[in-house]
Assembly symmetry: C2
Homo-oligomer: 119 residues x 2
Amino acid sequence: MEAPSRTGQSAGTRGAQPIRVCPDFHAAVELIGRRWAGAILWTLEAGPLFFAEIGEAVPGLSDRLLSRRLRELEEAGLVTRTVHGGTPPRVSYELTDMGVELQPAIRELGDWAKRWNVS
Amino acid sequence: MEAPSRTGQSAGTRGAQPIRVCPDFHAAVELIGRRWAGAILWTLEAGPLFFAEIGEAVPGLSDRLLSRRLRELEEAGLVTRTVHGGTPPRVSYELTDMGVELQPAIRELGDWAKRWNVS
């Protein structure tokens, strides 16, 4: 990312370079920042989970919203969905390569959150 | 963060350890995931900015919402606000230590977003 490093200069004197938020970063933070989306991705870090397992891992998240978020994460390319035979069929979810590569950022954020007691 | 490492086991066979999303992580991602909050933090990475400068750096963000988000980020301890004399007085914003320490996570997320062309 081409964010400039901290310069210590005071406001408004940073020079001629106008600052613009990186559109990729902005899209990414809006995606994983959707209510519960980050939490869902967190639960999948260790490997695939069935729908109900994700629900249990994220207290307070309704099945309806979980279902919607999983669909969005699937559309964004972060998660794949596998239907397992049986009655009723069970559905599991797993991170794609793109989702796996997001994990360092999620871990960094989690470390920071613990360090600063954010909750 | 105590997230388990990827095991490659299939869904539902991960063993006795129940997975629970880390509450600190969840709170953090909900905070920086609020619409535009991540983008605002991104612009402050290089140092303090005046209110109008942040607005210019984040196209599409209204002054009203920028003002609200900055207040929330201030309340969360990520940003400090300084009023400069003059007519009219100008207000600048700067990351606190807590906000500065969030930057590695923001950078990771930005790198990932660029690599995967998220926008």
